[in-house]
Structures are given as C-alpha cells and as structure tokens.
Amino acid sequence: MSISVTGLTKTYGNQQAVRNISFDVEQGEVVGFLGPNGAGKSTTMKIMTGYLAPTKGEVEICGYSVAEESTNIRRKIGYLPEHNPLYPDMGVIDFLKFSGSLHRMGKKELKRAVDYVVETCGLAPEAHKNIRELSKGYRQRTGVAHALLHNPDVLILDEPTTGLDPNQIVDIRSLIKEAGREKTVLLSSHILKEVEVTCSRVIIINDGEIVADEPTETLIRKTSGVKTYFVVLGGVDNPQHTEQILETHFSKINPSDAGTKPGWHIETGENTPFQQKLADLCREHGWHVEELRPVENSLEDIFRKLTSTSGDRES
C-alpha cells in the first residue's frame, strides 16, 4: 500500500476541517481528490506531507508513519502545495537545484535529474529565466518539475491546474498522466472534468467527510445518467399553465426567473428523447424555443446524486 489514511480528523478551534476520513491508495494508482473549496482537501494533503499534524488518526506513506518518520517520508513524496509557492527571485534551474540539494542529492545526480525534469516538463525554452518572468503555465510546470525532481514514489499535487488556460491544463494533465505510469499520484481538484480525464479513481470529499470513493468509470456512469437543460420558451401566455404541462412530461422542473421570458431547468433521464418531446409540445401549444442549452452538473448536484440511493434517481 502506497498511501494509507486511517481515521484522520483535524480540528481548528471549534471547526472540524476533516472528520474521520480513511482511504488507501495502491502503488501506481492515480487518484483524484475532489471537493468544493473548503472541503478539507488541502488540510488532508498538508497532513499527509507532514506539514500539519492530525488531531486524530494516522497516515502511512510507503509503510512509514508520517508522525514518526516525518523526514524519511518527505524524501518519498513530491509535493506541489496549493497556489504553487515559488521563489520569484530565483532562476528556474537554480530553484530546481536548491530543491534537489535540500533532498541531499549529489551533484551529478542532481544535474541529471534537473535535465530530466526540464525536458519532461517542457521547461527548456524558459529554463534560463527568473521565475518572476515566467507565465503562470510555466510557473506551474516549474512547480510540478520540483515535485518530480527527486524521483519520489508518491506525488501529492494540490490543485495542479488552477488558474491555467485550457492549453496549459491539457499540458499539465498529460504530464501528470505520464508521471502516473510509475508513481502513485494523489491530486486534488474542485472540477469534476479534471479528475475524470486524469484519474483512475475518485475520492469525493465534502465538508470534511468522504462522500464517495469509487473508480472514475463508476462515477461517470452515476452522474451522466441525468441531464439538466435550461429552456426559455417564447409564445407563452400563461407561464404557470405551461409549467403544469411541462411537469406532466418531465419529472423535475425548476422555474428560473433569471431572464425576462419564462425559463425552466428541466432534468431528464438518460434515455428520454428530450428534444423530440419538447419540439412536440411546442408544436402542440404554439410555443417556440428561444434558448436551449445543457447545464453542467455542479459538484453539489453530483454529491446529491451520489449520496442519494439509485431508486431516487429519475431515469
């Protein structure tokens, strides 16, 4: 077992940031740690790296207890902290060398490792620059490069793609996937898509508790069954009457008063021919569709869906 977290609890004053969470990660797994901001992801990761101490519970990394072998464990972990803190006054290479020297890497070994991560992380074109001159994407790559530098067994990456543009996100994702071939990776995110494409397993944490821990495929199956559309209809004389008609055909309707025209959020099952049905209704009642777009499931929706039993779900 690469990572083993048992009964972890962290309390700040009266506030419980993490409540009795337990999970294991096997060697070579890429696991996503998903949850909204403030769910306790960063706190858990900080405890796993030995930066914070748990109030209760235990973490083992590669068979070593974090509480007892803190220094040993830091050698085995590559950690990218939240917000990717770097020294802006340092050059990229100097920064990586500094990190390596703190890991007590020998000169030759360090040079080889720096060359390797500069190459793998695509840092070569910017390697001669000072960190303060780098774009956000290259800073993030520098952060990931430092985490990989000492060839750790376990990578812990706290929101590695936050604040990046779509191209940069794709780059970092492929970097992580590449690293995940040999290493155990735990990465956190508050975006479902993020973990869907990168991770083989997802642990969802909300309000300090684990609400789901399953393979990504299962998760996708559970969440993609239900779709939500936002519909604005024109030619509606009596919105309440229209709503009643809609309710007889679709089971979950939420009126939206965002615009000037009547609009609804309509939830449909996987196999419902929604567009067809809506078009029929429009023809029948003389409405026309002014706006129709799918709505991304929010994390809250997903939590609700995951925690409710399958019988509750409409499909």
């Binding site: 220094t71 770097l86 020297s101």
Partner: protein, 240 residues
C-alpha cells in the same frame, strides 16, 4: 549540516538579488564612515589613532540595520507560502532557522570586512592598539549574532516585514539600552546582573581588547535562546 549551508547560500543570493541588499550595505558603510571620519566625536576630533569612534558608531548602526536584514527572512516565507514548500523537504525547522541566521551573520561579517580600510587608514595615521581593534570587531560580530537571533525570532512571529522590524528593534532596544539604563539607576547585585544582561557591557569589555569566557557564554546563550524560540514558533503549527 549541508542543508543549513544550502539555505544560507540561497538566502545570501536572494539578499544581493535585490537592490535593497546593496543599499543596506552601502548605507551601513556610509553612515559608519561618516561618523568615524567626518562628524561628531570623529577620529580627528578625538585626535587619537584608535577605532573607538568607529566601533561606537557601528554598535548603533548595526542595532538599526540588522532588523532590516532579518525582517524578511521568515516573514516573507510565511507570507508567500514558500515556508510550506521548504518544510515539506526533508529539512527540520531548526535547520531552516539556523540557515537563515547564518546567512544574515555572514552578510554582517562581510559588511564589517568592508570597513577594514578604516582600520588600515587609522593604523597608517598612528600606532593602533591591535588587540583592542580585534576585540572590537569580535564584539561587533557577537552583538550582531545576538541581534540577528532576535531579528529572526521577530520575523517568525508575523507575516508582515514592518511588524517584524519593529518587534526586532524593540526587543533589541531592551538588550541594547534598557538593561544598561536601569542598571545605572540601581546599585549592588541587581545592577551588576542587569548590566550583564545588556549588550553594552559585553561590547565595551571586548572593545577594550578583553575577551573573556563570560562574553562568549553570554553571546552564545542569548543567540541560541532566540533561535530556539524561532524554531518553536515554526513548529507551533504542529501543535495547534
């Protein structure tokens, strides 16, 4: 020990990678030079070939300048989040603190080395008591060690550099002046003890060329105590 050295090295490079570092060293040299050679009870006013006027000036300039060197050491790391980056390497808090302290001390030592032309010039002007000169330099290095320790501790308390500067200056003031001041108003053992607790007494002894074990013990223990407090402060996050 190699990690202490690497942290120290990085700190010194960071210090000289900004203009502020050079400005500080030049200001220190300028101010101590000004009061040694040009103004007040300078060398020519006293009319003796000794370094007393330089040592007395440096004793004060270091008191003001050291907090400016130490204020960013831990406060900035805490503010920018790099402390977490640093501590999640296989490095203990004590080594981080020691590395930072050593870097500042080396910087002060280099600044003092740059004042050697003052010494050489005065030695050229007349016969200098070399023992007192060596003692004076060692005294300055010792009080610097203490003030740097205090400065690093102050920097570990806050994320704001200005606050760190003020805490260091105030705490430094207690050692630099207050103990001596109160000791002057009292008599007997209390007075002696208070004088002993201040830096002035030890510095003056050393600047006379007398270096005794108790000066060293004093310097080492105050520095070590401050650094321990700074270390404890960094470790506090584990006990909250």
């Amino acid at each position: 020990m190699s990690t202490v050295f690497h942290i120290c090295r990085r700190e010194i490079i960071a210090f000289f990678s900004s203009l502020a570092g050079y400005v500080l060293v030049i200001l220190f040299l300028g101010i101590s030079g000004f009061f040694t050679w040009l103004y007040g009870s300078d060398v020519f006013f006293v009319g003796q070939a000794n370094l007393n006027s330089f040592f007395n000036t440096a004793f004060w300039t270091l008191f003001f300048f050291i907090p400016a060197i130490t204020m960013r050491s831990l406060a900035e790391e805490k503010r920018s989040g790099t402390l977490e980056w640093l501590i999640t390497h296989p490095v203990t808090e004590a080594r981080v603190v020691l590395g930072k302290w050593l870097a500042c001390w080396v910087l002060v030592a280099v600044s003092l080395l740059l004042t050697l032309p003052y010494y050489l010039t005065i030695a050229w002007l007349g016969p200098v008591d070399h023992g007192a000169a060596v003692g004076g330099y060692l005294g300055l290095l010792m009080i610097s060690a203490i003030y740097i320790g205090i400065g690093i501790f102050a920097s570990s308390l806050t994320v704001n550099q200005i606050v760190a500067y003020l805490i260091a200056l105030f705490t430094g003031f207690v050692f630099h002046t207050l103990f001596d001041l109160i000791s002057g108003t009292l008599t007997g053992t209390t007075s002696t003890l208070l004088a002993y607790a201040g830096t002035t007494f030890h510095f003056e002894t050393m600047a006379r060329g007398v270096i005794s074990l108790d000066n060293m013990v004093y310097g080492l223990s105050v520095t070590a105590f401050s650094l321990c407090l700074a270390t404890v402060n960094l470790k506090r996050r584990l006990w909250l």
